[in-house]
Structure formats: structure tokens, C-alpha cells
Amino acid sequence: MTLLGIRNLKVYFYSEDGMVRAVNDVDLDIGEGETLGIIGETGCGKTILGLSILRLLSENTKVEGRILYKGEDLLKLSEDEMRKIRGKEIAMIFQNPLSSMNPVLTVGTQVAEPVELHQHLDNQNAKEKVIEMLKSVRIPLPSKRVNEYPHEFSGGMRQRAMIAMGLICMPSLIIADEPTTGLDVTTQAQIVELMKEVLKDSGTSMLLITHDLGVAAELCDHMAVMYPGEIVEYADVRNIFKNPKHPYTRGFLDSLPGRGLKPIPGISPSLINIPEGCKFHPRCSYATGRCKKERPQMKKVGEKHFVRCFLYD
């Protein structure tokens, strides 16, 4: 069953330097209980894609297409209806938990907010629920720590609290934006373990936005590789790693320390000056004249494996 379906999603806004095309014709599906990873370099529009689902982008940003959640187009909902989705149906876990938590409110207050709002729990019940949640994300001494402030938490503990905040209403979908970025490696591993476990226990679907292939490999069922604003390859995790098709995906994998640490030549284009045709052609060693003029379409190359490249025509 498809939980979230994104159809022809376009997100763009105007900046001083010109129009920023952050998301271009993205189509994606997330099934119930599935984890989909969006992989891409910094600045490829993956965070904007995540924020556009919850409609958290600023008002001057244009969002076109359809975002179907349980069959309903989120882009057509009123602001009030949308508020009932946020935190309750779809929750978001942000990167950098220090800046994403309010410094002047206690962790307990912040974690409790979604249940107080959506399940109308009173203070006492909400607090019990928060303690239970903090315990389930393995925060030691939860009944003491609910009264502490974010700055009194370590980085890993803060991210655990963020996860608790996201999961407390038992949403159907979690959007996790770089949940392990900025944490040290051992803490990263613990957070990944924890997320794996809570996802399995709750049956929650997740859209994981990351540039960290290791984290994605651990958590995802399917992966979508994003290159300035569009999906260039979509496959299950095994195929992405074992049988990558798109030259960008291959380059991305080869740049991993375990696979030779070879960088992709050139730099990724800004979202303002996106090349014509295939967006990867200036950096691609297989590029032909056709790649410069024509935009390739998604092509099926295997069971649930799609790629946007003329090499497979």
C-alpha cells in the first residue's frame, strides 16, 4: 500500500540571483512500513523536498504537483487541516538537534507538545507519556531529564529526544533530515541502531534524507539518488550498491573511502544555473551530444530499478 505518493513535484522560489529550481519533477512512492532514502550532495534540494511535504517552506516558495498522503493531496489542504497532519500523521526529525530545539523550554515541555496538542492529554498524562518515550529512546534517568534544558543534554541525547518528539504521536510517516549529521561516529551508530529498532517496533514509514551512504544502507529499503533537483536513480538498497547504473551514482559510490575515495570531477551545479539536457553531463565521462540537449526520462532497467540516463536507451 502506498502511504505517500509524490507526483510531478516542482518547488521553486526567487532569490536575488535568480530563480532557484530546488525540486524538478520528482515522483516518489513510500509504502507502509517502508524506509526510503533520498541520497544526494549538500545543496541538491533534498531538504527542501522534505520540508515541502509538510508545507513548512516560506510563503514565497512555489510548490506544484501533488503530494498524496493516504490518497489525499496535501497541497490542497487548508492551513488548519495541514496542522492536524503535522506532528500527528507525519512528523519530522531535523538535523542539528541543538539549534532545532528551543533553548528556553525544557526537553520535557518540547517533547510533550505534540501529544498535548493532538491527543489532548493533560499535563500529568503528557509528562508520563514523555517519560515513557524518553525511556524507549534509551535516555537514562528520564524522569529527571524531562525537566532539563536542551543545553544540558549531550549531542546524542538531544537527537534521541528529537526522535522521541517525532515518534510520540505514533505518526504514520517520519521525515528524517540528516538525523546523524554532526554526531560523532559511535553516537551515529547508536542513533542508527535506535532508529532501526523504533521503526521496526512501530511499523512507521520513513523518508530518510541524507548524504551519508552508510546510514542509508543501514536503514533504507529503497533509495533515490538526487542530483540538482531531480531523481536520477531509484532502486532497492542492494541494487544501488551492487549494481549502480547512473554514472553519478557510480561516481558517488566510488568517492566512498572504502571504494577508492575517487572524487567526481567538477562541482555540483547551483540550483540557479542548472545545465540543459541531462544535468550531470558537464561532469560525466560518458556524455554525448544528445546529453547536452535532451533531458533523459526515467527508464526501467530492472525490477523496481529506474535510471535517468541515455546509456540505457
Partner: protein, 314 residues
């Protein structure tokens, strides 16, 4: 917290010492022979003799070198004795304590006026940046900042007292007397505080935790009042502490315009009469109040921002 307060008290003492020294020096370098001025004030200009002037000079210790005069005064002040008025012989301290409530009343009501205007307007401006409301209130704030408050005071008297007759022109009494002076003092402060509230709020609204709050499904009202306001208040409270100093300073002029019997008016009258003891005592008193208000502001940070904890205490 106690160590912090004690440390601050020591610093306060140094600040206050500096203030008294400066006042003392400035007073003695103002043109005009103080003994002569005092003699004129006491006996009138007509039958003033050189002997009278010299007698006053010796009597009031004005013949001693400056530093001796200062140390003598300081010694008395530390023992709680601010001396007596050189003009009418009344004890300085009791005179100040009589006048003090009027000034505090004026200052408090002015600050209240300022905050009641500034915080809501600043918040609305920030949440509707570049809207008509925002532009109008920022223009109003600009006007408020650039208007000298003695001039605004005179305009208000002209409009509301002389033409409309709604409020008394000046004087001290019931509620109707305080409105115009408080409005005069409050608008200048409101203007600065509105701009600050707006910019502080805009800064806070850009923060990641505001996005987190929205992602929970909280309404904009809750996001602003619960998540943004407390963060935005931190710089505002700092400025309110300093603004209090401006209110005391502004009170000197406003109390004179509105014949408000506070410390400000007392100071102005004393300066005209070269009543050194009264000036020195009055300035000391105002400085102490200002320093205490700022200490209170610093302590209130700990309640607003849990990240601030003063040495030794969690």
C-alpha cells in the same frame, strides 16, 4: 547566585564612587563662585556683603582643597549622612525621600506605557514584515525616536490641556496628572523598544527551533507566544534596564515641564541654586537606583534564559 550578587555589589560600589567623583568635579568647575551663589540665594542680592560670602565659604567648608571636601563628603555619605541643603538647611536625604515616590511613579507608568505599546506592535510588525502595518509602525517608531521629548511634552500640553482641556496642564495629583508626562516619557522609549522587539522577533523567527515547533502542528499563535517570545525577550530586557536610566534622565526635563515634584525637578532647582549638597545627594541616589535596576535585569536573565547561570550556582 549569592557570590554573583556579592561580586556585582562590589562593582556597583566602584561605579557609584566614580559617579560621585565626576559630579563633584563637574560641579566645582562650573563657572561662578559657589559661596557667592549660595549667599545670594540665602540673603538676596541687595544687601550682600563680601563678609557674608566669606563667612559662607568657611561655614560650608568651601575653602578647603577639593579633595579634602570630597573625602569629607564621602565619609559622611558612607555613614548615611548626605548633609543639609546649602540653601534651606533641610537634610538632603529626607528631601530626596519626599521627592522620590513621585519620580518612581512617573518612571514606572512611563515604562508601562512604553511596554504596552512596544511589545505587541513589535511582534505584529515582525510577523507581518514589510506589510502596511509594519511600515506604518516603523514610521511611527522613527518619529518617536527622533522627537525630542521636551518638545513632544509641550505639544501634548498644547493639544490635550490647552485646546481640548482633557488633562491638567501640569502639577501633581491624581491619575489625570500623570497621563501626559508618562506619555511624553513613554513614547520615546516605546519607539526604541518597538524597533528592538521587531528585529529580535525577526531574528528568532528564522531559527530552526521555530520550524520544529511548526512541524509539530502548533498554531502560529502558540509558536509566537510560547516558542518565539521568550527567546526574543532576552535582548529586550537588557535594553529595558538601560532605558530605565534614560527615563530617570528624561525625568529631569519632563518633571520641570510638567512641574512634577520628583527628583528630576529637585536636581534642576538645585543646579540653578548651586546647592552642592543637594546635587551630590540627588545624583548619588539616582545612580544607586540605576545600578540596582540593572542588577535586577541581570538576575532576571537567569529566569528567561536557562543557559545563563552565574558562577557557582546551577
Amino acid at each position: 547566585m549569592l557570590t554573583f550578587i556579592l561580586k556585582r555589589m562590589c562593582l556597583m560600589f566602584i561605579v557609584i564612587l566614580g559617579v560621585t567623583m565626576m559630579t563633584f568635579l563637574i560641579m566645582h568647575f562650573t563657572p561662578g563662585d559657589p559661596a557667592e551663589m549660595i549667599a545670594m540665594a540665602r540673603y538676596g542680592v541687595d544687601d550682600l556683603t563680601q563678609e557674608d560670602i566669606e563667612w559662607i565659604r568657611v561655614q560650608e567648608g568651601l575653602d578647603a582643597p577639593l579633595h579634602i571636601q570630597y573625602i569629607k563628603w564621602l565619609n559622611h555619605a558612607i555613614h548615611g549622612d548626605l548633609g543639609c541643603s546649602l540653601i534651606n538647611g533641610q537634610p538632603v536625604l529626607s528631601e530626596i525621600l519626599v521627592r522620590f515616590p513621585a519620580t518612581i511613579k512617573l518612571a514606572a507608568v512611563s515604562m508601562l506605557v512604553a511596554l504596552i505599546i512596544a511589545i505587541p506592535v513589535g511582534i505584529i510588525s515582525a510577523t507581518r514584515q514589510y506589510s502596511l502595518t509594519d511600515n506604518v509602525s516603523m514610521m511611527g517608531a522613527m518619529l518617536g525616536v527622533s522627537m525630542p521629548n521636551f518638545w513632544l511634552g509641550l505639544l501634548l500640553i498644547l493639544l490635550f490641556s490647552v485646546h481640548l482641556g482633557w488633562f491638567p496642564v501640569c502639577g501633581y495629583g491624581g491619575f489625570e496628572y500623570i497621563i501626559l508626562p508618562a506619555l511624553t516619557l513613554g513614547t520615546g522609549m516605546a519607539a526604541i523598544t518597538t524597533r528592538l522587539t521587531r528585529s529580535s522577533m525577526l531574528e528568532v523567527l528564522r531559527q530552526d527551533y521555530i520550524r520544529t515547533a511548526r512541524a509539530k502542528g502548533l498554531s502560529e499563535k502558540v509558536v509566537i507566544s510560547k516558542h518565539a517570545l521568550k527567546n526574543a525577550l532576552i535582548p529586550i530586557v537588557t535594553v529595558i534596564g538601560m532605558q530605565f536610566g534614560r527615563v530617570l534622565e528624561g525625568a529631569v526635563i519632563i518633571e520641570t515641564i510638567f512641574a512634577w515634584p520628583g527628583i528630576g525637578k529637585l536636581l534642576v532647582d538645585s543646579i540653578y541654586a548651586r546647592d552642592f549638597a543637594m546635587i551630590q545627594g540627588g545624583v548619588l541616589f539616582v545612580a544607586v537606583i540605576f545600578v540596582i535596576v540593572n542588577l535586577v535585569v541581570d538576575i532576571s536573565y537567569t529566569y528567561l534564559d536557562p543557559r545563563i547561570r552565574y558562577e557557582g550556582v546551577k
